[in-house]
Subunit: 264 residues, 3 copies
């Protein structure tokens, strides 16, 4: 019994995702289907990549991750399957799979070009249904990826903004704003852990906040830097919406500042 | 192991859909449940009918499609099951099932009136839970539809606006606006295919666009007519929201215009 | 094959819920997962409690209900499992489980403190993934609740506003506004049933409406009191949004008024 996750920017209000599931279940009736999200902002490859990287490590071995954020659908951008030691990733080769693959051993990449494993008639705009869903379904039934098409060497990669060190700490940026308004940065939690309590996050128009271990570690409505569940520091507001309050969005600058010790 | 799809206007924010699933799984524990959508605009039977017609053909044979957009709940409107060669459709008889049944051989229609296959106490407003979900669950376990109630001859039908031909092409209208803002028309793709590249879509206040095979076949922000994945031409904007940009909504007029050839 | 329901305020737009499901399926691969909702307003324990109470009675025996609306995550608030005769409830001990447990025989309460049944590394902010999901998964595989941690005697309870009787009827309040804009009150349906047709609901700024059995029992756009599917009277508007029209929200006052008989 295979497991397929689905991540798209198709939204939940139309029939797109349900239809992909119908296609999958016709091919692989015993597959378990799990939605990651379908509310990636339309065409936002970076947000999709982050969500896939944050969720995929928590799934059982041999999961097939089907991800479609595909503004180039209908152009000749490749459609691929990437096999790692523990999973398969199916999607357009536009950087969407990049972050999830970071640090993983890649065992093979194939282009989805064998029409035997796609729907008979390929629409111009819904490859999620016609190409990607059938490929994922066949993989989850055990089809070797090599059957799906020719090998592919280069994978388009999404630039990931690495933080840079400064005399007094680190400079980074917001990479994702979540449902609660928490602004997730590219600063790994361990940077704050290394500095102990003697550091602050600086952001926005000259604002700053301490690092805490719970939203409730600061008064109501006040900001706090939290070592986040994705491994990166987040700017949150106790029972508030940090991104709205401080106008934070992907790309907003953030600094982790070591406090000067008052002792010698 | 049966398969039931669910399509409603109940929204995702309350407990309505989850509760229907609980009712189904108490009756038919091994049923696979697939959501089509629950974000049909409240009471919008036409939108629900379109979504059901667009998705249902992609499901395995013997799927039970449970659809509830039911502004007349609590009035004496019939609740029905319609059996086709490949599926069962369960829902209110208010036109919601019409488009999905178009062109299909109907093997039988029954009214859901046997209280043995409903919850013991029928609420006034939640027949999705008390009447439709139990019926779908029993059908997915193999109950013959005839057990659910008496035969029913007339099925309420939803008017479908057929396109009309004009000297220079076809006149139609928008029938659905999707999550991406694409305006799906009632003009079948083959009308444009027959005309080749020598036609344009006209819409809104004297706007028009070419027919293309990808959103990216026009510059960023420009409109394009796309042969859509539901079989109908769509008006889209490359990385934009066509419906918002051109104020298109269901009922908006559209024309497919054959271009005059410059050659004799 | 176990069944786990999920109810959170995590929203559908990020990877949070999908990730919890990945964690569950790694531990209990054959579990059936049903979403109640993930759109509880952030931190709104009362709304979560109402949704859980409205849905949980409709699930099969031995269902595990996993509910996470947890503004105190990261503080020392207890995490618990509550066992009743027919189900297990897993969540933070902050009142969220209260309404669902009302009137049920509680067979045991345990704190989730055995690290053997949590993820190896507990984040500060995502106990849904690291603590609650693993516990629910192990329970659904049959683990006795006692293995999860020490017994716990007091359960935080959420105040439930009981209606109060008045000379001419009952005084209550709105407790939940649903997707359709219906304002669900704390007045049990039977209060209206007892009064027959000779009563009205009063609300807002001197407004009132009759009790009816269908939205369509009043003209379009007019309000009607409906004996609701959760067992409580609701204020609805025929094809309208009652809460918006009359500015009703949780806490808004409502009266059920017995009409004076004109006969002796």
């Amino acid at each position: 019994m295979g497991l397929i996750t689905l991540l798209t920017d198709f939204g939940a209000r139309d029939w797109f995702v349900g239809t992909m599931k119908g296609v999958i279940l016709r091919i692989a009736p015993n597959t378990v289907l799990v939605d990651i999200t379908h509310d990636i902002p339309p065409g936002d490859i970076a947000a999709g990549a982050f969500a896939l990287a944050a969720s995929s490590p928590f799934f059982p071995p041999q999961t097939v991750h089907l991800a479609v954020v595909d503004p180039g659908v209908g152009t000749p951008r490749p459609a691929v399957v990437v096999q790692t030691r523990s999973a398969c990733f199916v999607g357009p080769d536009n950087g969407l799979l990049t972050l999830a693959l970071k640090g993983q051993e890649i065992r093979g990449i194939r282009r989805l070009e064998n029409p035997e494993y796609a729907l008979p008639s390929l629409s111009h705009t819904f490859h999620g249904r016609d190409l990607f869903a059938p490929a994922a379904a066949h993989l989850s039934r055990g089809l070797p990826p090599a059957r799906l098409g020719p090998a592919w060497a280069r994978l388009a990669s999404l630039p990931w903004p690495e933080p840079t060190s400064e005399p007094q700490g680190w400079r980074g940026q917001v990479v994702y704003v979540d449902h609660f308004g928490n602004a997730i940065t590219n600063l790994p939690n361990h940077l704050a852990a290394a500095a102990g309590k003697r550091c602050r996050l600086r952001f926005g128009n000259n604002r700053s906040c301490p690092i805490g271990s719970a939203y409730a570690s600061v008064p109501l409505g006040r900001p706090v830097g939290i070592p986040g569940s994705t491994g990166f520091l987040e700017i949150a507001v106790h029972q508030g919406h940090a991104a709205r309050k401080f106008r934070l969005k992907p790309g907003s600058r953030v600094q982790l500042r070591q406090l000067r010790s008052s002792r010698p």
